[in-house]
């Protein structure tokens, strides 16, 4: 419990953001037609690839001699960008099919 209070007092701003962003996420997605469930899931999946920013920061901070950190960071960037590029591209492809007809 003390840890939690310590975290909140040290990171008041982050705590606010966490809670408010949760509500934004809920409000934004409320009542979507079932038609869009598949593309929406795939789009949200691409967004979760934002973790790649962390992977890039890992690589930037590593020293060129730290092969282990660099190798792990490299794999993390590769996997992250597959998630991002693949996710957005496939969502676009799906939505393109909806677009063709009115």
């Amino acid at each position: 419990m003390n840890e939690l209070i310590e975290f909140i007092s040290n990171n008041l701003q982050i705590t606010y953001i966490l809670i408010l962003a949760t509500f934004v996420g809920i409000e934004v997605i409320k009542s979507i037609p079932a038609v869009l469930h598949t593309p929406l899931m795939s789009g949200a999946n691409a967004l979760s690839g934002v973790v790649i920013v962390g992977a890039i920061l890992v690589m930037l901070k590593s020293s060129p001699e730290d092969y282990v950190a660099l190798a792990l960071g490299f794999v993390a960037v590769v996997l992250g960008i597959i998630n991002v590029v693949g996710g957005f591209a496939v969502t676009d492809r799906m939505l393109q099919m909806f677009k063709k007809k009115k």
């Binding site: 982050i14 962003a21 009542s31 598949t38 934002v50 992250g80 693949g86 007809k101």
Partner: protein
């Protein structure tokens, strides 16, 4: 951190919110996806070029190489994948995101010293654990969906075992943080435990519930990203991750609703048990009537109104193009044709719409369940292709059935029903369908693609 980078992250965060919002409406969905993609590109470019550190060129080269390799792989997978394989693909991509989060945690663990803040330590550990769970869970889901992991594996008392397992992981993490035991062995033990839990969690869940699981795992990846965001004090990761996390939960609940399930029953698998109980109580439901392509073709040729009910079997057989041909042929003969789309038709909610759109079916012909149900009364022929549970009248009239209460398509109200199935095997719910024994129903056995192709050629000859 310099101000330009902060502003870039801010812009990216806003594009995520706006993009996600736009993705929820059919007219703006495509633009929304693009908006979020542009924001993501900005965030990535900003992170590389504007982060204040002295970085040797070789590191930039490596990052560039990683982006290029991964980008090409992701792009190729995305443009080559068949639309029927969409659930597997989302699951696979999601697993990659989770793995990425776990790897970041692994590296950051090495930077932890006794002077590190407890919260940072906890953040790194949760990143590793959640990332590992998402990774292995998504891979199992992927394997189940593409058929390489066929059976539903039920370990005795897996609910209790799984719950003990997750509690164990949490207790273990707290123990590590408190004792400050930052040895590599502890780290790898946590990683392994996370991976094992992901497997245990997804393995007992049935194939039909897999979309819900993927959506849930997707939400978890978002949370892993947010945790990594706290670690780096990075707002775009924090907000982006939380957004995906909470939106993912809402989407998961929406999917459960469409499938008439509760989240608890998906995770704890009470469905499978109820179905097994139902199976033992199966009684003979009378006899079925078989038909062939030429009789079915004649029936449809002379009908005024025909409704096609596409289901999972159509997706598996890749028959979405043939069904469009059949529909066009019937329309050219003056028959009124519509498609009845159940919210969970296909392999995940909304999947059937994607498949039929792919084969150029006119969007106006796809009618949602609530709009089409009153029309079955005036329908001469209903052609059910590879759908089962979504047309099972037991959902209306058998309170003991596990699918009782699920919204279904009321095809039994039509004058004639033709059901195309490969065999009399039960659907996902594992229960009998009395519709097949209805006197108005004729069964057209065979692979959806083969049967429909035969129907088309019979119709052409008329």
């Amino acid at each position: 951190m310099n101000i330009i980078l902060s502003i870039i992250y801010l812009i990216a965060t806003v594009t995520f919110v706006v993009g996600l919002k736009m993705l929820g409406h059919p007219e703006t969905a495509k633009k929304g996806n693009m908006t979020a993609a542009v924001g993501m590109g900005l965030a990535i470019a900003g992170a590389i070029f504007l982060t204040d550190t002295q970085v040797p060129t070789i590191i930039y080269v490596l990052i560039g190489a990683a982006l290029l390799v991964g980008g090409i792989i992701g792009w190729l997978i995305a443009i080559k994948v068949e639309m029927t394989k969409m659930p597997e693909l989302v699951s696979l991509f999601n697993g990659f995101g989770g793995a990425s989060a776990a790897l970041i945690g692994l590296v950051e663990f090495g930077n932890i010293t006794s002077a590190t803040e407890t919260t940072i330590f906890a953040t790194v550990l949760s990143g590793v654990a959640i990332g590992a769970i998402t990774f292995s869970g998504s891979l199992i889901a992927w394997g189940k969906l593409n058929g390489s992991l066929k059976s539903v594996v039920k370990i005795p008392m897996y609910n209790i075992i799984n719950n003990l397992f997750i509690v164990g992981i949490i207790v273990f993490s707290i123990f590590i943080v408190y004792t400050g035991a930052n040895s590599q062995i502890v780290l790898y033990a946590l990683l392994l435990a996370g991976l094992a839990y992901g497997v245990l969690f997804v393995l007992p869940i049935g194939g039909a519930d897999m979309p819900v699981v993927i959506s849930l795992l997707n939400s978890l990846t978002g949370i892993a990203a947010a945790i990594t965001g706290i670690l780096y004090d990075n707002m775009v990761m924090l907000v982006g991750g939380i957004l995906v996390g909470s939106a993912g939960i809402i989407l998961t609940v929406a999917m459960c609703k469409a499938m008439n399930r509760t989240l608890g029953s998906v995770i704890f698998g009470s469905f499978g048990e109820a179905a097994a109980a139902g199976e033992s109580g199966n009684k003979a439901l009378g006899s079925i009537k078989k038909t062939n392509a030429s009789d079915s073709a004649i029936m449809m040729n002379y009908a005024t109104n025909v409704i096609i009910v596409p289901g999972y079997g159509l997706a598996v057989a890749q028959a979405q193009h043939v069904i469009h041909e059949l529909e066009e042929l019937l329309v050219s003969k003056g028959v009124n044709v519509k498609y009845a789309i159940h919210p969970v038709a296909g392999r995940m909610p909304g999947h059937m719409n994607v498949l039929l759109a792919e084969s150029n079916v006119d969007y106006d012909l796809l009618v949602e369940m609530s709009d089409i149900n009153p029309q079955f009364n005036n329908t001469d022929v209903v052609l059910v292709v590879g759908a089962n549970d979504v047309v099972n009248p037991a959902a209306h009239n058998d309170p003991s059935s596990p699918i009782y209460g699920m919204p279904i398509l009321d095809v039994e109200n039509a004058k004639h029903i033709i059901v195309n199935k490969r065999s009399m095997k039960a659907g996902y719910a594992g229960i009998e369908n009395e519709l097949f024994y209805n006197s108005k129903t004729s069964m057209l056995f065979g692979d959806a693609k083969a049967a429909l192709t035969e129907l088309v050629s019979e119709l052409k000859g008329m």
